[in-house]
Symmetry: C2
């Protein structure tokens, strides 16, 4: 899944080049490229599909030049994860009715690729032998309030459990209880299931979504698919797969894993996951000369030099035509700021 706009990372992440296409960690590979590199050892290139917004075709061609062009599914509109996943499931089922599917965001950080690959192979084996919707739950290491939590129930096998509850971003006190209990895992947004299972569960739990695709089910994998999607996808409701299916279905399981995962959903998350200098400042792709300044994150394009004095706990993000300076503690305002920018200046800075 590669169609998000990453507005919480504005202005570093822009509508024209969102977060997943950026070399976020200064490694020389974008988050999308890192995600691709990570699955390539366990999934044949021909079986890796990218679902993204139509406007990102060129970026994907550039960044993944060896991906077959027909593996890029271009959404004509943004409709959240359920329609995205539904389309991919119908498309894959047309190619191989017995296929199993891993669904993964393209903009997450995973530091331990080998453990990730082992977890995925283990999960595939489970969904191939069970009628299951399997989500990957990350062993929590702190009382994070920015994530969703999954409570595990009865054990199914090995590190795979029935899911008891889903809880969206909890308050700090609750998050601390979750962490201590040992029963709660972070919802990674990585899913495994067979094409048949997810299509059936979409029909059962989210018929508004599945109907959009069901009526053209003979067209998937044919030259008529593109036109069908152009006509029908935009009319589909925008809803997340968690809300549409996972929180309603009865055959939901969680594989409890630990592979150095972070959704890089916020500047603070990026700060936490980046190497810091002795003043606890993080410099992304830039030279920083800091005086009396600690706990900041500097994300600045290219070879720019940043000189700061007296800044503590700030995000300093420079994207060429936009400069953002905002306390890390206030980063939830960024979405509102982007709205304000749109109102005051139109689309040019989005």
């Amino acid at each position: 899944m590669c169609g998000g706009i990453g507005s919480r990372f504005w202005p570093y992440s822009r509508e024209s080049k969102p977060k997943q296409f950026i070399d976020f960690l200064g490694t020389g590979r974008s988050l999308l490229q890192m995600s691709y590199d990570r699955v390539l050892p366990i999934v044949n290139r021909e079986n890796i599909l990218i679902v993204t917004n139509a406007q990102y075709l060129e970026l994907i061609r550039e960044q993944l030049p060896d991906l077959p062009e027909e593996n890029i599914l271009l959404e004509p509109a943004r409709r959240n994860t359920a329609p995205c996943i539904a389309w991919a499931a119908y498309h894959i089922a047309a190619r191989d009715p017995q296929a199993s599917i891993m669904v993964a965001p393209s903009d997450h950080l995973i530091t331990r690729d080998q453990l990730f690959q082992e977890s995925i192979i283990n999960g595939f084996e489970f969904v191939e032998n069970n009628d299951a919707l399997l989500t990957l739950g990350i062993n929590p290491t702190r009382p994070e309030t920015g994530y969703g939590y999954i409570q595990v129930g009865q054990k199914a096998q090995g590190n795979i459990f029935h899911v008891k509850t889903f809880t969206e971003k909890p308050k700090r006190e609750l998050a601390e209880v979750f962490l201590e209990s040992g029963e709660f895992f972070w919802n990674s947004g990585i899913f495994l299931w067979s094409a048949q299972t997810i299509i059936r569960e979409l029909k059962t739990n989210a018929p508004d979504v599945s109907n959009c695709f069901e009526k053209g089910k003979d067209l998937f994998g044919t030259p008529a698919e593109k036109e069908f999607i152009a006509e029908n996808f935009p009319g589909c409701m925008g809803i997340s797969i968690d809300f549409a299916v996972m929180e309603k279905a009865r055959n939901v399981y969680v594989e409890c894993v630990e592979f150095g995962w972070n959704d890089l959903g916020t500047w603070s998350a990026l700060y936490d996951n980046s190497p810091k200098n002795r003043d606890a400042n993080v410099a992304q792709n830039c030279n920083v000369l800091a005086y009396n300044s600690t706990d900041n994150i500097f994300a600045v394009n290219g070879e720019k030099l940043v000189v700061v004095d007296g800044l503590k706990g700030y995000i300093v993000a420079d994207a060429g035509d936009v400069l953002l300076i905002c306390p890390k503690s206030e980063e939830q305002r960024i979405k509102q700021m982007v709205n304000d920018v749109k109102l005051s200046f139109g689309d040019k800075f989005l």
Copy 2:
């Protein structure tokens, strides 16, 4: 005088394009152009000389296209104001031994041009009729600690007085006493004298400086001047005219004036002299969207958008390849920062 590098305004003012060449106030004219415009009604174009560093020839040609090329004196090295003024005095004396001279910085702000012009005409009349070194003293409006002060003595005529003392940047308490006394005026760095008087006073008070020029005195105004300067100017000591002459000479007078003067020597001075929005923020040439932010000055090249949250009393200066964020109260550190930048990164960001 147009050869300074304006390092206190780094990175907005750069060695390759210092403060005087920048459209600092967003008026469409650089400080140099504004200074030129200001003297043009009272001094013939042919009698306006620019003394500057050799590296700025192109900038001056661009910004003052109608200035005769031979009126640009190019210093082969930076040696502070005394050698600059001395060279110009010898050069002018060779063209007209009876000339009177106004010496003025090119990077000051003067808001009331007509009062300035009247003051200069009045001052010229005084130095043409008296053997005097005349400096312009500005009626102080606040206990500024960043300026030098001139104490007036006995009245000579009209608004012109003998000078009793010069005091460099006083502490706050002293500055308040100065302001209340009514006897102290800001030292503007604008001087009037005849060529003969300043040359004589240089010989008397600063022979180390005058000797550099005296030995070639028959060469000024001839084709040999350029080579003489190339050979001798760099060996001249670097010293200010205040220290070399004004504080030592006995025929020093001050004309007490009031024409909306500011030396724009610091970011705070620029802040004080710029229009503010309702949050007391100043935006130079840029769009600013500010949240919980007051008393800042934003100096950013071009059409850039700046979005800030939680910033109070800061300088935010973006020069494309350098971004500076520094509390106004700490701006005296900027010179040190520039040194640190040179040590860490060489000349590329200077």
